[in-house]
Symmetry: C2
Subunit: 141 residues, 2 copies
């Protein structure tokens, strides 16, 4: 008998589930960010700036090009959440550092995001299984 791996569990089915879950988490993230008048990218940048970074480092974690970092930073700086400091070792570069207001907003944001999520109905055990299986799926580089 041939392998019937696809029956009732096709790659296509899993893909649509992943896409759907991704969409739902994205919507959740977007909603929480909007509560603080932040776009999802701005919120992500704020999260990542728990430690100061150069523009290029931030571009790397945000998976975008440097001009977009400038774009995002302009808005966050205008709101007084972050400042561009000269980099101590490299005068070409800049250290992106949160202000006191930025640090505070970041913590509020993290608290808010952690306060509820699309996975709240799952038990700890279920989440562990989900995490392990997602990690397994990502094993095949």
């Amino acid at each position: 008998m041939r392998d019937t791996a696809a029956v009732g569990c096709s790659v296509r089915e899993i893909r649509s589930l992943v896409v759907e879950l991704n969409k739902r988490m994205d919507a959740h993230q977007r909603g929480r960010s909007a509560e603080f008048d932040l776009t999802p990218t701005q919120a992500k940048a704020l999260e990542e700036l728990g430690q100061p970074k150069t523009a290029r480092e931030l571009a790397a974690v945000l998976c975008c090009e440097p001009p977009n970092v400038t774009y995002v930073m302009d808005k966050l700086e205008k709101r007084g959440l972050v400042v561009r400091e000269p980099h101590p070792q490299d005068r070409r570069a800049k250290r992106l550092v949160l202000t006191d207001a930025g640090r505070e907003l970041r913590l509020e944001l993290l608290r808010r995001i952690g306060s509820d999520s699309p996975l709240d109905h799952m038990s700890h055990e279920e989440r562990v299984v989900l995490r392990d299986q997602l990690a397994r799926a990502l094993d095949g580089a």
Copy 2:
């Protein structure tokens, strides 16, 4: 003792795994589509037109607005992959139907997409677990 559900299995961790897997599947889909000079949306439209649909029906499955369907269909029609036929029951609507070339390309595309995937390294059992857990995650509407 407090619930330590978050320890080592935070929602944030799962989210990043979902985002990453989604990204990988998206890249795979994009790559396969590009082999046929199709954008991912064009490929999705082609897939969905296994059965003829009206523009609104296609918009629904593609999760987009009708003008985008016009946009996509213009390109597919120009390539001779699909035609807009008058709808038999409703003269306002149009039946979007694949041409012979469209049907053929659709089958090639499906074969190509099915021939390999980012989940090929997983066993049937692992995929079943992943699918069930993803479905469980989506349970909480």
